[in-house]
């Protein structure tokens, strides 16, 4: 059975965009679609590989090689990349955002505000800020700070210190060591 026409035209349109992206000619919106199709569509991945291989072979025949070798290389690299912290570059300057801005749209402000932090540190620091905030607020809400000390237990000291560090803007240096996950 052949594909339904709608699938086929959508798939062709994805490949058309991948072809343009390969040459740096995709618009911002098209680029976002291309990244999605690489992630979700095996045909798009195969097309991207074919286009790149074709370019290589046209430039030099000794770059022709079995796709199995290319795929094995990528699978191996994927395994290693999985162990790497996610790359998050500092927020681009205004004049550099022309290309980047629409691509970030779905990631939104959260990603941008995270950008200055390494992923795990940011997560742990966020957690600590929340807890630190609770520690500050709760004594007033409950009229006594005894429950805070007993529930937070041993963790309360570094947490309170962390909250202070946030206010001073010295977050990363203070959080790099005492942030082992609380219970997992």
């Amino acid at each position: 059975m052949s594909q339904p026409d709608s699938d086929r035209s959508s798939s062709e349109s994805s490949r058309r965009i991948l072809s343009a992206l390969a040459d740096g000619d995709a618009t911002d919106g098209e680029a976002v679609r291309a990244f999605q199709s690489w992630r979700d569509d095996p045909d798009a991945r195969a097309a991207w590989h074919s286009y790149q291989l074709i370019g290589d072979v046209l430039r030099s025949e000794d770059l022709a090689c079995e796709p199995a070798a290319d795929e094995a290389f990528l699978v191996a690299l994927r395994a290693r990349l999985a162990g790497e912290p996610v790359v998050l570059a500092p927020q681009p300057r205004a004049e550099e955002t022309a290309v980047a801005a629409p691509a970030v749209a779905n990631a939104g402000a959260a990603a941008r505000s995270r950008a200055r932090w390494q992923g795990p540190v940011a997560m742990a620091a966020g957690f600590l800020v929340v807890i630190g905030g609770l520690n500050i607020v709760r004594p007033f809400g409950h009229g006594s700070d005894t429950p805070v000390a007993s529930t937070a237990g041993a963790a309360s000291v570094p947490l309170m210190a962390s909250a202070t560090a946030v206010n001073n803007g010295a977050v990363v240096a203070d959080f790099t060591r005492p942030i082992s996950p609380p219970s997992s």
Partner: protein, 204 residues
């Protein structure tokens, strides 16, 4: 302004910088063969070539937040490949065993994969034959293209011209250039498909 970006990889690089590791894979698929060839000219050991290429991409991924687009991405990547290969050669002279172990994966807890431990596909006669067949098929497919399509993809892939420059040379709108290059790629890819689909029938 809709001028062509001078670095064709700019959109991909930006995407990776925003945390999309899968976009980095697209760059890997694009440059892996060229990087391996570059390293292969410096390092004799075929198995090591693949390991050093893996290390190159890992280093590039780690350093990408500092990439400032003062050069094209590929020249930056080539520099990393050359430095990684040089370092591997120096380390090999000093301590061959440790270097080999380090290059072949430092994740001791990950027993499922050892990059580079399996024989490189490029070594076997079957793989060599397959490579020759791929090259011959691409050449035959190019020869079978209409003049317009052949000229468009040749100017792009061999001469390295931008769409805008090709539109000047071919005296046609950029949209036509884009369409011709796509159709040329599709026609060649169609001929390659029987050779490229892996045994499992599902690439990538």
């Amino acid at each position: 302004m809709t001028m062509l970006n001078p670095d064709p990889d700019a959109a991909l690089v930006e995407r990776v910088k925003q945390g999309d590791v899968r976009a980095f894979e697209m760059l890997v698929v694009k440059y892996q063969r060229r990087i391996e060839r570059l390293i292969g000219r410096m390092v004799r050991d075929v198995d090591l070539v693949s390991d050093i290429a893996q290390e190159t991409f890992i280093r590039a991924y780690r350093a990408l937040p500092q990439f400032r687009a003062e050069s094209a991405f590929y020249t930056w990547l080539y520099r990393i490949a050359v430095n990684t290969a040089k370092k591997a050669l120096v380390d090999m002279k000093r301590d061959p065993v440790t270097t080999l172990t380090a290059l072949q994966g430092s994740d001791d807890d990950d027993e499922t994969y050892r990059p580079g431990m399996e024989p490189t596909d490029g070594e076997t006669p079957e793989a060599l034959l397959a490579s020759k067949e791929i090259a011959a098929t691409v050449n035959a497919a190019i020869a079978a293209l209409s003049e317009d399509l052949r000229q468009a993809i040749t100017l792009r892939e061999i001469e390295g011209l931008s769409y805008e420059e090709i539109s000047d040379v071919m005296n046609c709108p950029i949209g036509t250039v884009r369409s011709r290059i796509f159709r040329a790629r599709e026609a060649i890819a169609e001929r390659l498909r029987p050779l490229l689909d892996t045994r499992e029938g599902n690439r990538w």
